[in-house]
Symmetry: C2
DNA sequence: ACCTGAACACCGTTCAAGT
DNA sequence: ACCTGAACACCGTTCAAGT
């Protein structure tokens, strides 16, 4: 009758995330995950609905982590300072978790749950409203996120190949954006 | 001795791009491409180095097309008008070619050739220099590209889910950026 | 010179059989 | 209740054999 569980969903998700970060999304095979957690591939289907669902679970874990780091980085006082902190924290997170970060913005397979999504943007909307005024809250938040995401996505894809000082360009962009959004 | 060629590299690349656009990157299998061009999968290796190389060829074709459309959209007179035209053209192209557009910014597999890359950014750099001044050319160009790419990447990934008027937000962002870059 | 079937080493996933 | 080997339908890729 009873056979004891030899692994957990958490262990499976963690193993998947490590595989993705170490060797890329293609390295995430059910067999590789199974090997890491000490089980055979078919057993994973007791914990997870399949490979796509496993990728989605990783994406959600990453989204939660990113939202937490951003929350901690803000002090709620100076809007311009908070915007800079938000951008810098976001960028740092993407640099430390490049492969799984990209999951958050890949269409189809991934899919972050609505609640994770809302949590991620709550503090951003707050900063945007304080900086650009309540009537521009959503538009300003969208301008900021799209810039940050575009920037780190291009960094991760190796799309900045024309030389120049990248950190200087980052500061330039941040300065201009803060100035542009201020009411 | 001689056996006649039954397809061409061009036909193979075109078939691959159509498969990607129609059913996503996962639908790009060597067998599917072979079926479309009327040949068996092993024959494709006479035209193309393998699946990854085929994806890279598609990415380069897309990069060239995007660069051409942008070149045509600019008139070289009003910098602000050209920046708006560039952004709008870029966005329209991404909307019409969502799946293959994303290839341009996906790390690893894809990889646009250096010459395609340079061509793509030449007119952008020009607009940036005219708008923000030569000393900020590169930084301004990077701010603009990262915003545009981030914006369309988020649109394509379905990341704008908070309602509101998206076109209005796009215009708001464009206005603010033009104002922010102007010297 | 190109095309093909057969083969190889992989995938994800299902399921009956074990404990 | 979970784990497993075996099986199925797929992949990408190689290669000897055909024309």
């Amino acid at each position: 009758m009873a056979a004891p569980a030899r692994t957990t969903t958490d262990a499976v998700v963690t193993a998947a995330r490590e595989l993705i970060e170490r060797d890329g999304l293609d390295a995430l095979t059910m067999q590789a995950v199974a090997r890491v957690v000490g089980v055979r591939a078919p057993s994973l289907y007791k914990r997870v609905d399949g490979r796509d669902a496993l990728v989605a679970l990783v994406a959600n874990q990453v989204a939660e982590e990113l939202a937490s780091e951003i929350d901690e980085a803000l002090d709620g006082r100076d809007p311009a300072g908070d915007l800079r902190a938000l951008a810098t924290t976001f960028r740092g997170f993407a640099h430390r978790n490049p492969a799984s970060y990209l999951l958050l913005f890949s269409p189809g397979h991934a899919g972050v749950s609505p609640t994770s999504r809302l949590r991620s943007v709550a503090s951003l909307r707050d900063v945007a409203a304080r900086l650009a005024g309540a009537e521009h809250e959503l538009a300003a938040a969208r301008l900021v996120t799209s810039w940050i995401h575009g920037w780190v996505a291009m960094e991760l894809a190796g799309s900045f190949q024309l030389g120049g000082d990248l950190e200087e360009a980052w500061e330039y962009a941040l300065d201009r954006l803060v100035a542009a959004l201020r009411t």
